[in-house]
């Protein structure tokens, strides 16, 4: 433990800014992945344990698209759409077969796919660490806020994520499609009886989850190194975010993701060996106080 380092950081604005932005980008990436996870759970009542693999696929798609085109905007959209397609096919062909079955059977299917996706990535892109590099548009001198160094890409990442989050919220909360999705989450049989094809709806929700994970992968690619196991570690963290925020709550996922991001970045100063432990302490405290999570409602 190194409380002195934490205290000295908290007394310097520059250090606070640096740590906070670092924490924010972790939180933003976690939010994108967790938002898809929580959306899928909210509507389909399935915990999609392959969601980390979607994030990994998004990052690798981004790598390939960027190497071919050199255009980062195209890269983000391309990776998002490609991952959305993977999500759609995955839901229609495999996950739709285990609806209503034992949760553990769904878990088993997802685990099988985690193994398969990891190996496929290894075969197609190789087992070694890859890095995409910073897109040329962001290869500019860093910005200084209160003396703290902030790479411009970090600001871009935070801005884009907030934009995506707002769009998602608007679509779900304010449009007819969103209303249908919320209705299907509440009572799928009634929605089907009203003549709405729930199969298409479920596929769409899964595709949206894939899209968000693909965006996250593409946004992470310039600042993270790519490895075939990268989906596994974000899976457990985004899962924690989802549980803390409340399964099915996108607002909850946002709040929890930023909290976890900040806990990680400041915690790594004060408790370098126990950074992950802090996350779990937070999770245990939240679950004991409110088992449904911060913004969650009872399900089942």
């Amino acid at each position: 433990m190194d409380i002195a380092a934490l205290v000295s950081c908290l007394s310097s604005p520059a250090c606070i800014v640096t740590q906070a932005t670092g924490g924010l980008i972790v939180g933003m990436l976690l939010f994108l992945v967790a938002a898809g996870l929580t959306l899928i759970f909210g509507v389909l009542k399935v915990v999609n344990f392959t969601h980390g693999s979607f994030y990994m696929l998004g990052a690798y798609f981004a790598l390939t698209i960027f190497n071919f085109t050199g255009n980062y905007t195209l890269t983000v959209f391309g990776a998002g759409v490609a991952t959305a397609l993977v999500g759609l096919v995955f839901e229609r062909v495999f996950i739709s077969r285990v609806y209503g079955q034992n949760v553990l059977m769904q878990l088993l299917v997802c685990y099988g796919f985690i193994l398969i996706f990891d190996d496929v990535v290894k075969i197609l892109w190789g087992p070694e660490f890859k890095s995409m590099g910073m897109p040329p548009a962001f290869q500019v001198p860093p910005i200084f806020i209160a003396g703290g160094v902030v790479p411009p890409f970090y600001l871009f990442l935070v801005g884009v994520t907030i934009l995506i989050g707002l769009t998602l919220w608007l679509v779900i909360d304010k449009t007819r499609l969103g209303k249908t999705v919320r209705a299907a989450a509440h009572n799928p049989n009634m929605v089907a009886a009203l003549g709405i094809n729930t199969g298409v709806l479920y596929g769409l929700v899964f595709a949206t989850g894939g899209l968000l994970a693909g965006f996250a992968g593409a946004l992470a690619a310039p600042v993270r190194s790519l490895t075939p196991g990268m989906g596994f570690s974000i899976l457990i963290e985004s899962f924690i975010v989802t549980v803390i925020g409340g399964m099915g709550s996108i607002v909850g996922a946002f709040v929890a993701a930023i909290t976890i991001g900040l806990i990680r970045s400041f915690g790594s100063l004060g408790f370098p060996l126990f950074t992950e432990g802090l996350m779990y302490v937070f999770m245990v405290v939240v679950l004991i106080a409110k088992p449904t999570g911060l913004f969650g409602r009872e399900v089942g």
Binding site: F94, R97, V98, Q101, V103, L104, M105, L107, L108, V109, Y111, G112, F113, I114, L115, I116, D118, D119, V120, K122, I123, I236, I240, V243, M247, L273, F274, E276, G277, M279, Y280, V281, M283, V284, L287, I288, P291, T292, V299, G300
Partner: protein, 335 residues
């Protein structure tokens, strides 16, 4: 005797016979790989069966059962390294420790319903894992607890000898299975299943649901701890992976592959997963692809664990033959 096949004496006989078979196995097929496989298998089968006491019989899906596997391994290995106690004493103390920790964590967890129980157990397990990594002077941190485990002789058993370790592991597995089977068939076991099927009804009948679930949680933890101790003896140490969430995941996969509705399902599942693991690593370069596809065949093809499928087929066969016999009898008796 209402049902002799369900008496403890019958279990003990089967257990003794099984132990005799397992004891002869290395004499018939002398292979170090087989012995290693069986020791690892004993540790994990005991772990998976103990988890199924919660998952299959209690309807309590724990995502954190691995913490007790890790706790058993670490506490036993540390007691042997630091205190010089005889093995049986260290074994007993480690079990008490597992039970005590399970009691503390269980009091908080078993109140929660299904999914939330799973999440909270997962969180506690990761907390235990983080503590193991953090507490370097005691546990060796993420390098694991190394330096070997001293193995003084006791009752003429020398656990430094691989074949003695093999026999001890098999014995512990069989004793563990017989005990868990006894628990499952006891009034306590039936109460546990009643709570699984309808906790509200059990509660109205005067059953203290919380207490029964807590006892099940502690019992399962103790048997998982025994599994961990076998594993620590096998690898001569303990590693943080023993308490990581992947081991809890593996336990669940073993249960699902073998069948959660059959008592021996988790044991069969352990063998399936270990064999698959060994084959996939030895014979293919694409370990994940092979294992993933086989898991999908199970999950989407069989849709149930192997033993559940086989027992289902056997029961159907029995009822079909019985009903045809009855049908024949009735038609013969009618005028």
């Amino acid at each position: 005797m209402i049902n002799s096949r369900r008496s403890p004496a019958f279990d003990l006989m089967i257990g003794a016979a099984l132990f005799a078979v397992l004891a002869l196995l290395p004499l018939l097929f002398p292979s170090k790989a087989l012995v290693d496989f069986m020791i690892r298998g004993s540790a994990l089968a005991l772990f998976a069966t103990s988890l199924n006491l919660l998952v299959g019989y209690g309807g309590m899906v724990s995502f954190g059962h691995g913490m007790f596997f890790g706790l058993g391994a670490y506490s036993f290995a540390l007691l042997m390294q630091r205190t010089g106690l005889p093995i049986p004493a260290a074994f007993a103390i480690a079990l008490v420790l597992c039970a005590a920790v399970a009691l503390g964590i269980g009091v908080v967890c078993v109140r929660l319903k299904e999914l939330y129980f799973a999440f909270l157990t997962l969180a506690f397990q990761m907390l235990v894992h983080s503590l193991i990594v953090l507490w370097v002077p005691l546990t060796g941190g993420d390098q694991g607890l190394r330096g070997g485990i001293p193995r003084p002789h006791f009752l003429g058993i020398n656990l430094a000898n691989q074949s003695h370790l093999y026999l001890t592991s098999c014995a512990l597995l069989i004793i563990g299975l017989v005990l868990i089977h006894h628990i499952v068939l006891s009034p306590f076991g039936y109460t546990l299943r009643m709570i699984r099927d309808n906790a509200a009804r059990a509660s109205f009948l005067g059953v203290n649901v919380f207490r029964i679930r807590l006892i099940a949680f502690v019992l399962a933890a103790v048997f998982a701890g025994v599994g961990g101790m076998i594993m620590s003896l096998f690898v001569s140490g303990a590693y943080p992976e023993f308490a990581y969430w992947t081991i809890s995941g593996e336990g669940i996969f073993m249960i699902m592959l073998g069948g959660l509705n059959s008592f021996l399902g988790p044991t069969v599942g352990t063998v399936i997963l270990l064999v698959l693991n060994d084959f996939a690593t030895r014979f293919t370069e694409h370990y994940g692809l092979t294992l993933g596809i086989v898991i999908l065949l199970f999950a989407l093809g069989l849709r149930r664990g192997l033993l559940d499928v086989l027992i289902g087929l056997w029961r159907r066969h029995l009822t079909v033959s019985r009903s045809t016999a009855e049908a024949g009898g009735i038609s013969g008796a009618s005028p």
